[in-house]
């Protein structure tokens, strides 16, 4: 029997038994819906991380020299933790050495940051992320001054108490006022606002507009790092290709300064957007694995339901099978008829699931900051899974139908 004939038969069967078919489909539909939705969300998160997080938080072609990694996935063992705590801290001298060794075109900045309390005459809002940083930070992190100015070389050298604030900080502490020239206090010390940053948005719900930047040499440094150590030295290479070279140069400088023998591992960390993306890949793997549990359950339940429905169908249609056999249907014709029927059911379920999953992804994209987007491969996978589940679940019932004795089958009620 030709395939399309079997498919036509399957559709006729589904049309006759709409309600039963609906219940048959529901397992596969839910499974595929979650598959599509999960993959879309993870996919969307991936784009988000690559485009927004990597670029906005870390900077393009940028790496940060740290005492130990800031971003970690999974558990850090206490042995590792202890090793990290024994590492030498970063100093201003390290930063100077790195600056001197950098290839031309590379940017650098010292960044010492922490969450601190702030007050103005108008408001005391939640904590802000304060950076005591060298001026290079503005260019590296693409912090655009909306109005006002960044600090001058003189202010940097003198350690003047001036501050550039994020747009949200401006709104919170200086409601309906022009913050330029006004005073913002950190730990009681007054800072003059000299600039307001352009709005940057948020990453994973954390606002990038709740930060303030003061000169590295200003008293802010005492606040963000009471002992005077440096948290991170940020380096930006001019091109992606120059990034590796810059990282090598910095590694060499740091190893020399820490007097490491060739056999000893680095006692500092270089965090780049690439390493962050590696971390993200690990997260993504866990997310996809975790996200696959629900679809897998749905598909298994779907397969069991389909197998049951097909067994019932074979029992109900025993006489039909007898008639078909008496008219010349071979075993493989009967087998194909029921396999195609269960595969058609299952693919139909998958198709509905793809539609619902797409809708779910759109809904999530609308109500959350995640730009969920349906991956084409997940649609293909869903159709393949639908067919696979249908065929797998149909094999046993179909072979039972195919093996029926025509005489017995013809006598069935």
């Amino acid at each position: 029997m030709p395939l399309y004939e079997a498919a036509r038969l399957a559709f006729a069967q589904i049309r006759v038994q709409k309600l039963k078919s609906f219940f048959t489909l529901i397992g596969v539909t839910i499974g595929v819906m979650f598959l599509i939705a999960v993959v879309s969300i993870v996919n969307g998160m991936g784009r988000y991380v690559e485009q927004d997080v990597a670029a906005k938080v870390l900077g393009v072609n940028t790496f940060t020299v740290r005492r130990f990694p800031n971003m970690n996935v999974g558990d850090v063992t206490s042995a590792t933790w202890h090793e990290w705590l024994r590492r030498p801290r970063l100093t201003k001298e390290d930063a100077d050495a790195i600056r001197d060794a950098l290839p031309p075109g590379a940017r650098w900045a010292i960044d010492v940051d922490d969450y601190v309390d702030a007050q103005s005459r108008y408001a005391t809002a939640p904590q802000v992320q304060a950076h005591a940083a060298t001026p290079g930070l503005f260019a590296i992190k693409d912090l655009v001054i909306d109005h006002g100015r960044a600090f001058t070389q003189a202010e940097e050298q003198l350690g003047s108490p001036v501050v550039v604030i994020g747009s949200e900080v401006a709104d919170d502490y200086f409601p309906n006022l022009d913050p330029l020239g006004r005073t913002l206090r950190f730990a009681g010390l007054p800072y003059r606002v000299i600039g307001v940053l352009a709005k940057q948005g948020s990453v994973f719900g954390v606002s990038l507009d709740r930060q303030v930047v003061a000169p590295f040499t200003s008293p802010m440094q005492r606040l963000t790092s009471p002992r005077g150590y440096i948290h991170g030295i940020v380096v930006q290479a001019p091109t992606p290709a120059a990034l590796d070279n810059a990282m090598e140069v910095v590694t060499e400088v740091m190893r020399k300064r820490h007097e490491l023998r060739p056999s000893e591992p680095n006692d500092f960390a270089l965090e780049s957007s690439a390493s962050a993306l590696t971390q993200w890949d690990t997260i993504k793997r866990y997310l996809v694995l975790a996200g696959m549990v629900l679809p897998a359950i749905g598909l298994v339940v779907g397969a069991i339901v389909i197998m049951n429905i097909m067994l019932v169908a074979v029992a109900e249609r025993t006489r039909e099978i007898g008639i078909r056999k008496s008219l010349g249907a071979r075993r493989r014709d009967i087998m194909a008829q029921f396999l195609v029927e269960s595969a058609t059911l299952s693919i139909l379920g998958a198709a509905v699931g793809i539609g619902l999953g797409w809708g779910l992804a759109r809904l999530i994209a609308t109500v959350s900051p995640l730009p969920a987007s349906v991956a084409l491969w997940s649609v293909g996978l869903s159709v393949a899974l639908g067919a696979g589940v249908g065929i797998a679940a149909g094999i046993y019932p179909a072979s039972r139908a195919a093996r029926l004795d025509p005489i017995t089958a013809l006598r069935a009620e």
Binding site: A12, L327, A329, R330
Partner: protein, 265 residues
């Protein structure tokens, strides 16, 4: 009942005996059915039931034969074997020049498809399919294209005066109309034999007569018809009547002789 001007030739006893005695040899193409010592045993939970104890039967092309017998005579078993729905325990069965008694499941399906047209007591139409689709079914398994199937099925239904009922489902048809759909389906592949199993068992007497007229006409056109029945007056429509008893042929007579013996009209 209409009488036919054309009487299909009936094989004589001597001819039949000569064909049957020639064990293992393919019968001439004039012989559509030859069984030699056909045996069918059933194993009923350790106890062997001898349903057929050696049936010798030869039917020539164009014969119209009724097979009779009381229940338990092996009539149904014999009809299943003739219809290639079952395989014998021993003996030969030649159908249209082919030895089918040794064939396997799927080969038998092909033989059923090409050589046999079934007409059942309970019609055995697919309830959800239209008359047209029911008639098309054997062609589906014969691998005929959709357009060709439709054309031939329409023709077949027109031949049994159901040209106006192509898209009707079985439950929208009368008993006689259903049986005519079944007859159209049985004949769609131009089978070697039309094999009818109690074709009037579910019909009232006037509808039965109507179906018998169809059979009569088919036989007069040269179609080999084999009809299994337990009703003597239905059997009397055939030209030759074979009576089974206890798994063997007890009588094999021409209609006139059978009628004289069994019908008290």
């Amino acid at each position: 009942m209409s009488t036919n001007t054309f009487e299909a030739p009936i094989s004589t006893t001597a001819e039949r005996q000569a064909i049957i005695a020639d064990h293992g040899a393919a019968p001439g193409e004039d012989w559509v059915i030859v069984t030699r010592n056909l045996v069918r045993d059933y194993d009923m939970g350790g106890e062997v039931v001898h349903a057929l104890r050696g049936v010798d039967l030869a039917i020539r092309r164009n014969e119209y034969v009724a097979i009779m017998g009381p229940s338990g005579s092996g009539k149904s078993t014999f009809m299943n074997l003739i219809g290639c729905l079952d395989t014998p325990t021993a003996g030969e069965y030649w159908l249209n020049g082919e030895l089918v008694s040794t064939k396997k499941d799927d080969e038998l399906a092909r033989v059923r498809n090409r050589e046999i047209g079934f007409v059942f007591q309970t019609f055995n139409l697919l309830a959800r399919a239209t008359a047209l689709h029911n008639v098309e079914l054997p062609l589906v398994y014969a691998g005929v294209s959709a357009a060709e199937r439709r054309r031939r099925a329409t023709e077949a239904l027109e031949r049994v005066q159901l040209g106006e009922r192509l898209e009707h489902k079985p439950n929208e048809l009368s008993g006689g109309q259903r049986q005519r759909v079944a007859i159209a389906r049985a004949l769609i592949n131009n089978p070697a034999i039309l094999l009818a199993d109690e074709p009037t068992g579910n019909l009232d007497s006037s509808t039965s007569e109507e179906i018998m007229r169809v059979f009569e006409e088919l036989a007069s056109q040269g179609q080999t018809v084999i009809m299994v029945t337990h009703e003597p007056d239905i059997a009397a429509h055939a030209r030759r009547v074979v009576v089974l008893r206890d798994g063997r042929i007890s009588t094999d007579d021409q209609r006139d002789k059978f009628a004289a013996a069994h019908l008290s009209v």
